[in-house]
């Protein structure tokens, strides 16, 4: 195994690993500061912050020969016997000079800069800069211009790392951004007539190591040090990007991608990034309502949640002939509990996958990132759960046909979609039932236009308010915890079904998950601890198929 010596510590790297000095030093616990280098982008070695001393140890004699000049750590690959020195006086002085040069042209308007608190320029200056300034610097007002509908550029805060330019050229493949002028007058700008409005545009704000690129959706909403971070999974499409939900006092302020090499690498799309506003929509359903007359002025009676547990079961049992739509927005745990509840009410209940929203076609970008046409996070998971109860796994269309054929007396529709999803025609299939239960985030044609002798309208929760497991289009299961609490008075679906199953205590998704994993081979991979980057559900199945197949 190749050995690399970082500040006197020998570390081993993989025989075929291609690492640069920054990555190798990180393995040894040494952080080499850098601005322009990003693991997802090409190397330009332009910021000069990662300059280190390197050398080579002779394998035969053990004699170390150092390179006389400093080299950029991001551009220097390591091999067996590479020596990296990150803490020498020369390196420290070089970093202090780089910081000094960057600050000469910087407005130093940290108090009004949204990046303050997570800014690499601040952090590195604190750690590597010098306490006194030699230039007479006065804070000034940064020029600002919008480079796209969602992204704004504070021109003078930029340190010209060109991460954003490389992103638009290499990952989104749209190339709207460029560097204008030369030398000290270099500036980032969009090409005239080509504003930055591709579907991955928001990522340039995350990439920006300083406060130059600002997200207009988040601009001035909250200081970053007030935000709490919860690892989460995006519910916007079947890709299921790993994200971090940044929130404060049960209000989401922004979503950021979380590094996951198996799913989204370092990126997420703008649709997902700004797709949290429905969580705080005042039109959301907040109370459990029941209606038991057909009149046009029928009003909803609010029912307390403990009473919902018993009365919902009684209403559905009285109607009989149950058909259930299991929404692909639900987690695996919730879907499993819903199926169990439905089958406990009606042992012959018809269980189908709920409406699967689609829009357009799958879109893959040059960097490998894919936005799926399927705008729900867990169709694979819900189908796998339904297969445990009914191998046929009926679809939403099958459910509508089942209802139109008059083979059901009651229906239980779970939705939780972020917006309007059902049209009057599909809602018409639900006419003539004895009992209709709808669990959704917003009033829809189903709750408002359809009338049954008994109609239930129960609130559902959004993606950040849920905990459980989602299985994405690539069969990768990711577990997550709720980031914010649902609005006051709303029980998440899982809690309601946990109580309807008669289980005691608080709703415990891991307990349900382990139960499913123990009961079903298709979910066996979820039995142990699931890593933060998720686990491929097929991993154990492939192994078992291979080992059990006769030679």
């Amino acid at each position: 195994m190749p050995q690399v010596i970082v500040d006197g510590t020998e570390i081993e790297i993989g025989a075929h690993e291609r690492l640069n000095c920054i990555e190798a030093a990180r393995r040894a616990g040494k952080e080499i500061p850098h601005y322009c280098w990003h693991p997802g982008l090409s190397v330009v070695a332009s910021c000069r912050m990662c300059l280190v001393e390197t050398g080579q140890r002779d394998a035969a004699t053990g004699k170390i020969t150092m390179v006389p000049k400093l080299v950029p750590g991001c551009q220097t690959p390591v091999k067996d016997g590479t020596v990296i020195v990150t803490e020498s006086q020369l390196v420290k002085e070089s970093r202090a000079r780089v910081e000094e040069a960057l600050l000469i042209d910087h407005p130093i308007d940290c108090p009004i800069c949204d990046k303050a608190g997570e800014c690499l320029l601040q952090d590195y200056h604190f750690e590597h800069g010098q306490p006194q300034r030699r230039a007479d610097l006065q804070p000034f007002h940064s020029r600002r211009r919008d480079v796209g509908p969602t992204v704004t550029l504070f021109v003078d805060r930029c340190i010209m790392c060109t991460r954003c330019v490389r992103f638009t050229r290499e990952v989104s493949g749209t190339g709207e951004l460029m560097v204008t002028s030369r030398g000290a007058k270099e500036e980032i700008d969009s090409f005239p007539g080509f504003p930055l409005d591709n579907k991955l545009a928001g990522n340039v704000v995350d990439l920006c190591p300083v406060g130059a690129l600002g997200d207009r959706d988040f601009l001035y909403q909250q200081r970053v040090w007030f935000l709490k971070h919860e690892p989460n999974v995006c519910g916007g499409c079947a890709t299921g990007c790993s994200i971090v939900t940044e929130h404060n006092q049960d209000t989401v302020y922004r979503l950021k991608p979380r590094e996951n090499p198996h799913v989204n690498k370092w990126w997420m799309c703008d649709e997902g990034r700004y797709g949290w506003h429905h969580l705080h929509d005042p039109a959301r359903l907040l109370a459990a309502g029941r209606r038991d007359d057909r009149g046009p002025d029928a009003s909803w009676d609010t029912v307390d949640w403990p009473a919902v547990v018993t009365r919902l079961r009684a209403d559905l049992a009285a109607a009989g002939g149950l058909a259930v739509a299991v929404s692909p927005m639900l987690t695996v745990e919730e879907a499993w509990m819903l199926c169990a509840v439905a089958r406990s009410i009606d042992p012959a209940a018809f269980l189908a996958v709920g409406h699967v929203p689609r829009s357009g076609t799958d879109e893959t970008f040059p960097g490998g990132f894919t936005i799926r046409a399927e705008k729900c996070p867990n169709r694979n998971g819900v189908e796998a759960v339904l297969a445990l109860f009914d191998p046929a796994v009926p679809t939403w269309e099958d459910l509508l046909a089942h209802l139109r054929a008059g083979r059901a007396r009651s229906a239980w529709v779970t939705a939780a979609y972020p917006g309007a999803w059902i049209d009057a025609e599909a809602a018409g299939a639900f006419a003539g039932l004895d009992c209709l239960v709808v669990q959704d985030m917003f009033p829809s044609a189903l709750t408002e236009a359809t009338s049954a002798p008994v109609t239930w309208r129960l609130p559902a929760v959004g993606f950040a308010e849920r905990s459980g497991t989602w299985v994405n289009a690539g069969h990768r299961a990711q577990c997550f915890e709720q980031a914010i609490r649902p609005p006051a008075g709303v029980w998440p679906e899982g809690r309601l079904w946990w109580n309807m199953l008669g289980r005691s205590g608080l709703y415990d998704p891991p307990a349900v998950r382990h139960q499913i994993a123990g009961a079903a081979a298709s979910f066996a991979a979820l039995g142990g601890d699931v890593p933060a980057t998720g686990i491929d559900l097929r991993i154990l199945q492939l192994a078992t198929t291979e080992s059990s197949s006769p030679a």
Partner: protein, 194 residues
Amino acid sequence: MKPTDPAIVWLEEKPLGLGERLYLPLFVQGLTTTARHLVSPKVTVSFPEERPRIGNPLLYRGVHRLNKDAQGRVQCVACFLCATACPAHCIDIVAAESPWPDREKYPESFQIDELRCIFCGMCEEACPVDAIELTSLLDLTGRSREEMIFDKEKLLSVYDMTKDAEPMKSASLTGGSAHAHAIPAGGARQGGLP
């Protein structure tokens, strides 16, 4: 440490002397203190008819005010540093893009819960543009809790009320322009770039 530890020095209380046992000298000593206060100048004032004397208004920590800049706009840039520094969590700011071309950010709403405030002065210390200051107003009353939550207009009116008696502290401390190191000072950058 055990009682037998050699590092411990045991002291005995001194036995009472003749004067102490007589009681009378100590009695006189105490009465002398009382008598001295009877004739010395009084420090108590009959508040509210009589106002107490504030030693140094620069150091006194009374009701807050929000300073205005030369054009009469709120000086605050909504950086949230006061709210961050506040140990009582009594400052609530809503920031927004400013309507003025020479400023980037301003407080759309700025509220201080004066009932929750402990008047520690950390907000004043944290402020990078000397926008929030504690005045020497000390009698703070209201008929309801809501009335004691001071909004931006009220805090600005405190400035109008006190600016003559108490000019901005930074001006008197630096002996010059209060705007010299304010963040959004110029509007145009001072460098030579186009």
